[in-house]
C-alpha cells in the first residue's frame, strides 16, 4: 500500500510537470470557447442583436436549447457533453503519451528495475491519469463557467446554481470519467502492446473508427427483432449514448434537440453501466497481463 502511494506521488510529479498535458488542456479550453462563442453568435443573430436583423437559421426549439446551455445550470450539461466528445479524444492522446513515452524514453525500465512490482506501477499510473483527467474537467468547467457569466450577461439571463446542481455536476464528472474509461484503457493497452505512443494513437484511431462504424449501424436498434436489437445494444456506442444523454438531461436540457438522437431505442442505464464496465475491465485486463508478463525492452 505504501508502495502504491509512493508510486502515485511520483506519477503525479511526472504528469503535472508535463507540458503535453497543459497543451492538451489549453487546446480543449480554446476549442470549447470557440464552440460556445458560436452558440452565442447564433442566438444573438436569431434575436437580431447583431446587425439589427433577425437571422433565423435554426428553429425555436433549438435556439431555446442553446439559450439554456448559455446559462446556469444548463451550461453544465453542455460542458459535460463536450468533455465526452473532444475531451475523450484528448484523453486518448494523453493516455498514449503517458504510457508510450515511458517506452521511447527508456524511463520505464529504469523505474521497473528499481521497483519490480509492475502491477502496482500500472495501477498507480492509471489512477494518476484518472486524477489528472478530473483536474482537466474542472479546468474546462471553470473556463466554461466564466464564459457563461459573460454570455448570460449579454443575453440578460444568468440563470442560477443551486447546491443540488453542484452535486449533479460532481456526479456528472464521475459519469464523464466512466464514459471515457473504455476508450482510455483501450489506448493504454495498445500503447503497451506496441510499446510506443504511435501504437497507442493508432489503436485509438482504429477503435474510434470501429466505434463510429457501429454508430452507423444504429438502424439495427430500430428493428423489431429482439435478438438483433439485443446484440446491437451490447456494442459500446448505444451504451455510451445512454450515459452521455444523461449529462444534459440532469440539467434540464434536451440531448436530442440538436443531435436527433432517439433515446427510446437506447439500452437502459443499468445495462449501459454494466456494458461499459465490462469493456473497461477487458481492456484493462489485457493491458495488465501484457504489461506484467512481457519483457520490457526499451527503445528499439
Amino acid at each position: 500500500m505504501a508502495t502504491l502511494l509512493h508510486l502515485i506521488q511520483a506519477e503525479w510529479l511526472k504528469l503535472t510537470r508535463r507540458p503535453l498535458i497543459w497543451l492538451l488542456y489549453g487546446t480543449f479550453v480554446v476549442l470549447l470557447l470557440i464552440t460556445f462563442a458560436a452558440l452565442l453568435f447564433v442566438v444573438l443573430l436569431h434575436d437580431g442583436a447583431i446587425g439589427g436583423v433577425a437571422v433565423q437559421v435554426l428553429n425555436d426549439n433549438q435556439i431555446n436549447q442553446f439559450r439554456q446551455e448559455l446559462r446556469f445550470p444548463g451550461v453544465f450539461g453542455a460542458l459535460l457533453g463536450q468533455i465526452n466528445s473532444i475531451g475523450g479524444i484528448l484523453a486518448m492522446i494523453l493516455a498514449a503519451g503517458v504510457i508510450g513515452n515511458e517506452y521511447s524514453w527508456g524511463t520505464l525500465r529504469v523505474q521497473l528495475a528499481r521497483q519490480p512490482q509492475r502491477g502496482y506501477y500500472l495501477i498507480a499510473k492509471l489512477l494518476t491519469l484518472l486524477l489528472i483527467l478530473l483536474v482537466g474537467m474542472l479546468l474546462v468547467i471553470l473556463a466554461g463557467g466564466l464564459f457563461t457569466l459573460i454570455a448570460g450577461w449579454l443575453l440578460g439571463n444568468l440563470g442560477r446554481v443551486s447546491a443540488g446542481d453542484l452535486g449533479l455536476l460532481l456526479l456528472g464528472m464521475l459519469r464523464a470519467l466512466y464514459v471515457m474509461l473504455p476508450y482510455v484503457l483501450f489506448v493504454v493497452a495498445a500503447s503497451i502492446i506496441g510499446r510506443s505512443v504511435l501504437a497507442g494513437v493508432a489503436g485509438g484511431l482504429i477503435f474510434l473508427t470501429l466505434d463510429g462504424g457501429a454508430g452507423t449501424l444504429s438502424f439495427l436498434s430500430q428493428t423489431d427483432n429482439p435478438i438483433v436489437r439485443g446484440i446491437y445494444n451490447l456494442l459500446l456506442q448505444p451504451n455510451i449514448s445512454r450515459l452521455v444523454a444523461q449529462h444534459r438531461q440532469s440539467f434540464g436540457t434536451d440531448p436530442t434537440a440538436v443531435t436527433g438522437l432517439d433515446l427510446s431505442t437506447l439500452p437502459p442505464t443499468w445495462q449501459a453501466i454494466i456494458v461499459i464496465g465490462v469493456y473497461s475491465i477487458v481492456f484493462a485486463g489485457y493491458a495488465y497481463v501484457s504489461f506484467t508478463r512481457r519483457d520490457i525492452v526499451g527503445a528499439s
Partner: protein
Amino acid sequence: MSTEWAIEFHALTRRFGQHTAVDALSLRVPRSSVFGFLGPNGAGKTTTIAMLLGLVRPTSGHITIFGHDVQRTPTTALQRVGAMIEYPAFFPYLSGYDNLRVLARADGIAQPHARIQQVLALVDLAARSKDRFKTYSQGMKQRLGIAAALLNQPDLIVLDEPTNGLDPAGTVEMRELIRTLASEGRTIFMSSHLLHEVEQVCDQVAIIKQGKLIASGKVTELLHRGQGLLVQVTDQAEAAVALLGKLDWVNSVRHEGLTLLIDAPHERAAEINALLTRNDILVAEIRTREASLEAFFLQVTEQP
C-alpha cells in the same frame, strides 16, 4: 548478508526466437569486487543485465542477488541494487533534480532533498541540477544516470557500458567516479566492449562472446600470467578440442585450422602434449603466449 556472492548467474539462457542471446551463462560476482563484464557488441551483455534487473525473463536458469532469487522474489532481490542500463534514461522535460525527485518519491526515500543534493554533488552536477535533462551533454546525462543509481544507497551498482558515447575527458571523469564508488566497499558490476576501460577500473573480469562465457578471473592473472598456449597439431583438431575441453583446468579451447588456442596455465603444456599423444594426435609445436589481456580479449572475441 547471506552469501559471499553479490550476484550468481546459474546456467542463464535467453533465446529470442532461434537466436540464443545468452547461452548457459554461469558466473559468480564476489561481494565488494569491481567486476568487468566484457564482450564485443551483440555478445549478450545488455540482455544479461536486463535479466539481472528483472526486465527480461530468462528462457531458463536463474539469478540471485545477495542470495535472493530475482525471478521469485524480485522486490527483495532488487532492493539493494542501483542500475543504469544501456543509456541514461530520464524525462526530458524535467530538470535533473526533478528527475531524481520522481525516483526518490517512487522509492519512498525519506529526506529526499538532502539525499538528492548529496548524489548530485558526488557526480558533480549540482550546478546544473535545475536545467532540463534534454539540455544536458552526453557526459552529464551519464553522470545523472549514476546519481540515480546511487540514490537509494545500493550495495550493488550495475552499469551497462557507462562510458559509451563519452569523449575522452568524459571517459576519464567516469572512470574516476567509478573508482570513487568502488572505494566505498560497494560491489560494482559493469559491462563494456572496450577492454582498457575494464582493465583500468576492475579487479575481476568475465568475457562473453555470442552469449557464452569464454573466460573469467582476476584481471591481474589474466593480464600477467599469460595463460595462452598455442598448440600446433598435424590433424584431428576437432578431436583435440573435444578432448581438452573436458579438463577442468582448461578455461577454454578452440581451434583455428590446426592451431589450438588453449586458455590454460603454461605449466600444463607437458600434460597437454602427453594427453594428445596418448590419443594419437601428433603435436608439431607448443608455444606459450605472453598474452596481455588485450591480446587475450581480441583472441577470444575475434570472429571465428
